[in-house]
Amino acid sequence: MSNYLQVEGLSKRFGQVKALDNAELECSSGEIHALLGANGSGKSTLIKSLAGIVVPDQGDIYLRGEKVSIGSPQESLAAGIATVHQDFSLVPQLTVKENLFLGAEPLRKLGFIDFGEIKKKADRLFNSFQVEIPLGAKIADLSVSQRQLVEIVKAFSRDPDLLLLDEPTASLPSERVKILFDTIRELANREMAVVFVSHRYGEVQDLCEKATILRNGYSVGEVQVAETSKDKVVSMMLGEEATKKNYGDSEKQSSKAKSEAKSSLSFRAENVTAAAGNVEKVSFSISPGEVLGVGGLQGQGQETLLRALYGLEPTIEGTCTLGKETLHIRSPREAIRNGIVYISGDRDEGLLHSRTIRENISIANNANRPLWELIDVDQERQLAKKVIEKLDAVYESLEDPAWQLSGGNRQKLLIGRWLIKDPKLILMNDPTKGVDVQTKEKIYDLLYSLANDGVLILLFSSETKELISLADNLLVMYEGKVVEKLEGENITEEMVLSASLNTGNNKND
């Protein structure tokens, strides 16, 4: 048998939910195999079954044609499997180095762990990603994209035969994604089998030859990526009827055509300077109906800018005005009071994991009301249902804790909660992270209709393509400053890149 990995009839139930229902997957050595499906279709559950975190109820897993049972993460590692988890497997209180060594079983060879070897490999990998993450830094102090890289390096440094990548690119900026792909290809050339999960179809076309598509926990089929199209794959993901109903409609509406904005409030920021020093004298304005993007290379202060405007980062200078009003925002509470909300793709920062779906949405209201006011649970339930269904979230009951949701569906809670607030300005920091293709379209539509209603939108996305297609105008940031403002319909990725590189080069001259 040429398949390195073969999964047959894998099933797993959580209460009433069939997370996996007869799932199949095959992947041979040297192959990079895509695993696709809508949010909540069971991709992560399948990955976790192979990683020894979820124990399936039924089904068989074969490695090199031999039936194996994987009861724990240690057994998975010992079988030569390494995993990049969607929600990361890092311990926040430990350092990068400690995390890299965590759970390192003596793979093969002798009975001891070669820490030196792991460290050497990790160093080499960090180098190839061109990042400097101090090995002594605590995970909790790293940014999401840094944590994502540590998670990747941790898996790669184990030198596995089978590599499972659950949305490894969700938190990575475009430049790093390229490097990651080169590394993956190189590993595949050395006969490693790779399973790759992503909601970005472009990446799948770029990287994978074959793809397996999951719907409601079962494998709809395996396709050759080159011989099919995005639309075909999406219709396999959704099933025929659903496709016509949802996806087809939204495709048509996703044009940037705008009607006259209903409100005439605009937002101006002048000389905003963050105390941390990575945002310096940034000035811009957003006019009604406009979606303004902030882009450029990774980590040039874009996220800090959004956080500073929301009162999450201290500023030492700068004035912001919304309409005629001058704002003095020192905390999220004050921002919200002024009609400014913040949607982040950092789910650790935004979710109440142990609380119910209902509470995770209504917190947008409840956190800002006087403490003695009473809560109307029925009303909460109705609001929650309304916004979460608007975003096609898959869930069993509003009373389930948020951690039970799949990654993309958790992200929908973070977006949905602010839709109940009627904001004036929405700060978006990678809002569609981990959200599936068709829901992304829905979110884009929603964004346009909000913009049309006069809601101001400031958007950052780690995916430059998304940024360009959504933003009317784009601020390019470099080393904390706005170096160029790109305007108009025809912004391209090259324009963004050259705007940032030119400045970089000029500086070096």
């Binding site: 905390s331 999220p332 994991h353 947008a364 800002n368 403490l371 003695w372």
Partner: protein, 320 residues
């Protein structure tokens, strides 16, 4: 239909298991000592449990607030408020309602100090509230000048030990108390915010919650409720002694654990803590009636608790 029942059982497993354990302990008691599980004795046990249940309510607020939340001073606050109450009721002869208000305000202030230390001075809750035990016991000495005076008035004694249509007053009060605590936790914006802050402080802050104020309020509530417990205890014991509430410190923590309140914060129900307090009280009375002797009792108590705590503590793994 069957699946709905199963689902309900799954969601309320903790409550069902706790009720089951109460039943088993009562049945064992009834077999070993006839009369142990009689109506009358069960009412007695419940009355005893009420004092622990009230102090454990304070503990619940502290633990729910997260960040290793804990209030070891619940017993000390109860002791101190009993001493002050005895003095106000006896020698000073103030009316009970006024004393109740003064005592609860006093407890709230002591809790407030805990809360301020924990949030603004960033002292870990364990250290802060442990330190406060010393401070409060010192205050007791200073207040009473080494000789606590006064006692419960007749009215207070009636409330703590009397009966109405065969049911102890204290149980009626506890029931009302349970309703109020559940109402505050479940139906007010404060309660909702408390769960949110305990579950993920950062997320609560980003959503606009005033994280510090909510934590401080949680500890103030803990103090206030413990002081109320102290007053009830005074009525029950009738005379005053130093540190009469201190024996409730550890049990209040155990009741909270038995109640499934998560030490990482933001998760757990006071109703289950009530059941935890009842389990604990049944166990203690059972071992007392069996006449095993102090050493044996402690051993058996320890083992059974260990078994219960492991059984309950193996809560579903959180995020994977």
């Amino acid at each position: 239909m069957k699946s709905i029942v199963l689902d309900y059982a799954r969601k309320n497993r903790h409550t069902l298991v706790a009720i089951g354990i109460c039943g088993i302990l009562l049945a064992i008691g009834g077999i070993l000592r006839p009369g142990f599980s009689s109506y009358k004795n069960v009412l007695n046990i419940l009355s005893l449990a009420s004092f622990l249940g009230i102090l454990a309510a304070g503990q619940t607020f502290a633990v729910l607030s997260g960040g290793e939340g804990l209030d070891l001073s619940v017993g000390a606050v109860a002791s101190f408020s009993a001493i002050v109450a005895a003095h106000l009721l006896g020698p000073l002869n103030l009316p009970l309602v006024l004393v109740l208000l003064i005592i609860m305000a006093l407890g709230a202030v002591l809790g407030l100090i805990n809360g301020l230390g924990i949030t603004y001075a960033q002292v870990p809750p364990l250290v802060m509230t442990l330190g406060m035990i010393g401070v409060i016991n010192g205050l007791s000495l200073v207040y009473s000048g080494g000789q606590p005076t006064g006692s419960a008035t007749e009215l207070l004694q009636t409330i703590s030990t009397g009966r109405i249509v065969g049911i102890p007053w204290i149980l009626v009060i506890w029931l009302a108390f349970i309703f109020i605590v559940l109402f505050v936790l479940k139906r007010t914006t404060f309660g909702r915010a408390l769960y949110a802050v305990g579950s993920n402080r950062e997320a609560a802050y980003i959503s606009g919650a005033r994280v510090e104020i909510i934590k401080i309020l949680a500890y103030s509530f803990s103090g206030l409720l413990s002081a109320f417990g102290g007053l009830m205890l005074l009525g029950f014991v009738q005379g005053v002694q130093y540190e009469m509430g201190s024996s409730y410190m550890l049990p209040s923590v155990i009741a909270v654990v038995l109640g499934g309140v998560s030490f990482s914060g933001g998760e757990g129900e006071y109703f289950n803590v009530v059941l935890g307090a009842i389990i604990l009280t049944i166990l203690t009375s059972l071992l007392t009636t069996l006449n095993i002797g102090e050493a044996g009792r402690m051993l058996v108590n320890g083992f059974i608790l260990l078994a219960l705590l492991t059984a309950f503590g193996r809560a579903e793994k959180m995020r994977q």
